[in-house]
Subunit: 306 residues, 2 copies
């Protein structure tokens, strides 16, 4: 099995009520691959500048993440600066510097073209389409997007959605894309745009999966201390697709397990700043927390009451 | 088994983006007993004015709700007027008229004093304490409260909490009562004030139960059409305590089933204005939806991944 992610590798400056970090490792492809590589073979396509502290990615190499698709070009690395208040569900963006990402044109090598599963991180839908034009016959294509593309590149995004099997978005994005205030109506409207499966990520409230006429819900793991929610969504996507790739199926049972795995991995990311928790994370810890979602959500049948 | 509720029986005027109703049946004791009476024997203690359309309660009598404790006094019935926007999670209160509730002094008859389980709806903590002073030896005491009492009658509320087994509050109330922004920390802090079990209701995001060091989560049932969220919290409490009373236990398994039953019943309430949906609701429908929470939340074990 093999899983390709196309997205940003970034340096983030983040402030939350619990601390701050400057130029810490970030980016959608980074969080995604850090999570998914615990579960399956992952390759990254992205771009960094010549200022990028490459030793920061050593832990990904240790997890055998394929970094051959990570171009290094002259210039500064993509940077994001943001701030969270006590409502950790939404960040206030203070600054975005595309830098080398501005001229990024993803080029897939032989391995990447043949990947079984693809995750198109939150980048310009035109670039996401260019990636799809290069892949051969993937078993599953998943994508993320954001408000900026939903309003600014809607036609291209809709063209993309016809070619996507799974769309993963947060609830605000689902509402904006569909024009529906109700999250279930929003997910159903998005499914009509193309994706067979729609995942709505809701921060501390968990995630909802729409598959056909059915829904499945995974709560966020209840945590007393959330230090930095940055990257939770991409970690979630990494756990979700990482498990689907490992299990090599999209049957309903696997989709449900994958949603819980996404929620499991995301719960570790937010416990520390940047990728500090993901960096040291072991599958023993992951499996223990995955298992604890049963006590959190499962209940016994009830004898009939009439 | 027997379950006593003390709370308001009201006339609500409600506006949502999907319609409006004037002087419709409402009140915490009404929603609670409509839900709980599907599961067990319920008695109501409350007060109505001489303007109250008593025929509105016929369906409760049909469910054998004991209305002997519902005093009728001279004056106008308690009235609440509120409005919801597209965010149906919180109401804007436009008007509250306590009317006959202003001088309400709950008096419990023999049946009520001997009830197995008590739900103290959201009223003045002094009145809640006066009810507790009259009951004999209940197996379980549960209570609700709100921002008004948390800020205005904190000392009395804290006195009450020492005598309460279950506190059911929404997340804003949990935060205000505990001074903790994080919902898990908030629930833990509340448990230290007395209640063995803390239920945090989170509207469309479901509910969290804290029992000892453990948590359990029930999502809200995903609905495409929510017409009027009024009464969802009290319906939830009615389903939760109704099932605990019927099962006559508070073991962990029953608590989990009760949380799901609360969520199940609340999901019907919001499908229509006022008590229209609860009024006609059958246990066949309830058991079917309770069962569908399994497909919504349960997932298979995962083989070990190392």
């Amino acid at each position: 099995m093999s899983l390709l992610v196309v997205g940003s590798v970034a340096l983030d400056s983040v402030e939350t009520p619990f601390g701050a970090r400057d130029n810490a490792l970030g980016g959608s492809a980074t969080y995604f691959s850090a999570a998914a590589s615990l579960l399956t073979e992952v390759g990254v396509v992205g771009v960094i500048g010549d200022d990028f502290p490459i030793e920061e990615l050593a832990f990904l190499r240790d997890r055998r993440v394929r970094l051959e698709g990570l171009e290094k070009v002259s210039g500064r690395t993509f940077r994001w600066k943001g701030k969270y208040g006590f409502d950790l569900n939404s960040a206030q963006t203070l600054d975005t510097q595309l830098n080398v990402f501005e001229t990024f044109d993803p080029k897939l090598d032989e391995w990447a073209r043949k990947a079984d599963r693809i995750f198109l991180g939150n980048i310009d839908p035109e670039l996401q389409l260019r990636v799809l034009d290069q892949v051969q016959n993937p078993k599953l294509v998943a994508a993320d997007t954001m408000n900026f593309w939903i309003s600014g590149k809607r036609a291209k995004l809709l063209e993309l959605l016809k070619r996507v099997d799974v769309l993963l978005v947060n609830d605000g994005e689902a509402r904006q894309l569909s024009g529906e205030a109700n999250v279930l109506k929003a997910a159903r409207a998005i499914a009509k745009m193309g994706p067979k499966y729609v995942v709505v990520k809701r921060g501390e409230y968990g995630a909802l999966l729409l598959h056909g006429a059915e829904t499945f819900h995974a709560p966020a793991f209840p945590l007393a201390d959330v230090l930095d929610p940055t990257g939770a969504g991409d970690t979630f996507a990494g756990g979700f697709l990482g498990l689907l790739d490992r299990l090599n199926t999209t049957d309903v049972g696997a989709l449900k397990q994958a949603l819980v795995m996404g929620s499991t991995l995301a719960s570790f990311t937010v416990e520390q700043f940047s990728m500090d928790r993901l960096r040291e994370l072991s599958m023993v810890e992951v499996m223990a927390r995955f298992g604890s979602f049963r006590a959190l959500t499962h209940f016994d049948d009830l004898d009939a009451i009439s």
